[in-house]
Symmetry: C2
Amino acid sequence: MRVCALAGGVGGAKLSAGLQEVVAPGALTVVVNTADDFDLWGLRICPDLDTVMYTLAGISNPETGWGLAGESFDALGMLARYGEDTWFLLGDRDLATHVLRTARLRAGETLTTVTGALSGSLGVRSAVLPMSDEEVSTVLKTPAGLLEFQEYFVRRGQRDEVLGVELRGVGEARPTDAVLEALAAADVVVFCPSNPIVSVGPILALPGMREALASSSAPKVAVSPIVGGRALKGPADRMLASLGHEVSAAGVAAIYEGLVDGMVIDRVDVEERAGVEALGMQVLATDSVMRGAQDRARLAREVVEFGAGLAAG
Amino acid sequence: MRVCALAGGVGGAKLSAGLQEVVAPGALTVVVNTADDFDLWGLRICPDLDTVMYTLAGISNPETGWGLAGESFDALGMLARYGEDTWFLLGDRDLATHVLRTARLRAGETLTTVTGALSGSLGVRSAVLPMSDEEVSTVLKTPAGLLEFQEYFVRRGQRDEVLGVELRGVGEARPTDAVLEALAAADVVVFCPSNPIVSVGPILALPGMREALASSSAPKVAVSPIVGGRALKGPADRMLASLGHEVSAAGVAAIYEGLVDGMVIDRVDVEERAGVEALGMQVLATDSVMRGAQDRARLAREVVEFGAGLAAG
């Protein structure tokens, strides 16, 4: 049973960790959003890739979901002493990741190759793939003007209303061969409970990606990141609302209409079943909030079993 | 009383710290060797500049003389986990210096500008100047072949016999305007007790540097890094021997013949006085080993007073 998961940051990383537990070693590939990657102090920072990599390596910070457990922040303190604006919390060990990645990218390696080497060194037994080796940048239209994604997300604490999303460079980018091969080889494709607009959205926006999904014979199943009308983490709920979507599991399902065969929703949203089914999807209602390793593995097992039982559309 | 010091790493940094204590704020300029600068993981590392900067800022590691006091090494541990060879001890806060410097150099700033900004942020009240904004690299000829300086100095622990010194790029490099101005404005020029071959040597090898020193009306005084026939720190003694120089204060004086007007030697080497004087230099024999802040300031005061009393050659 080969599983290919599409993921953003924390929510995607958690379900990916669960999937890694329940499939055979090497049978999971996680395709990760890179549209919120950015440069800081000349270093290439890939927040979603690192969150997935650290989580699959079992070294992520369990409190935050991102960053490393037991991290120190001495370099950041020194940068502050140099008068730098230290709005992006960069840990010392995390910094090593960015330094090494940047050096290898500058030496001509692809992000795919670098990520594979880094995650391999950390003992990750799944494939962690950037969605693309080309740079794509999410820029948000807000009442305060255009904001780079991390500017919006970290620096301004997601306080701005999102009125539009621009994915710069996406027209010239393409899914990597590794991504296309993983999709073609998958027995189940899982859309993780990540933000459908700015996490899964950029993956789907890559030219050729929807076609690759359509031509895959694997069933596709999405896990709703909206539970009880609220995002489990992050600004997905407000973003859906301000962009004119329904803030519900059914609203997420509507975004994925025609792409997925099944939708996993939380038990608290069970009255949305009929609405989701009306979009041509089968529905699994279960406990979808992942509070720990046990939850993650249990949900992952249910998602895979549900997905495997679906007929691909 | 404006003092311009020529310095390498630890020994030069110590005397510079003493000089900073005994002159008026802003009256000290330290011209620092950059020929042992190198790139590691895409970062530009300037060991001598940083040693001088950290020491003048009062934040250097008093045990080693280089690096930062109370430093952590979490990033380096992570780099090791990624399979990197961590022969160069890179602390977390030190790493911040390299990251920021590299970013600013890539953005087009000169090393002089970047160093001024960094040392200013650290509260250094003296000017810390790289000898040049062009890259110069010390390469050593040894029985094991050609070795980059840090390869020889750190990775191989200075165990190789040095048979020759090549300063790559020195012919195309030049002292910066700031260096030339500091020399022209100085009331005393001090050659710090740094390695005369690979620390002060590269500064003197810059095209135009000897002429600039010669045209300065300030007296020049050198402090011997050789005491009792041994280097106070590092491989200067063995390097002098293998390159055919006498391993003594007089041997160092011979290297500086025609460049300096006075030589400060240790009391233990007082019998070398006549030999040094025969080179046309006046001699001050004093306690030249700097064991702490008090020693540094006392030696600095003696050096400046001795220098100021000399007639420039």
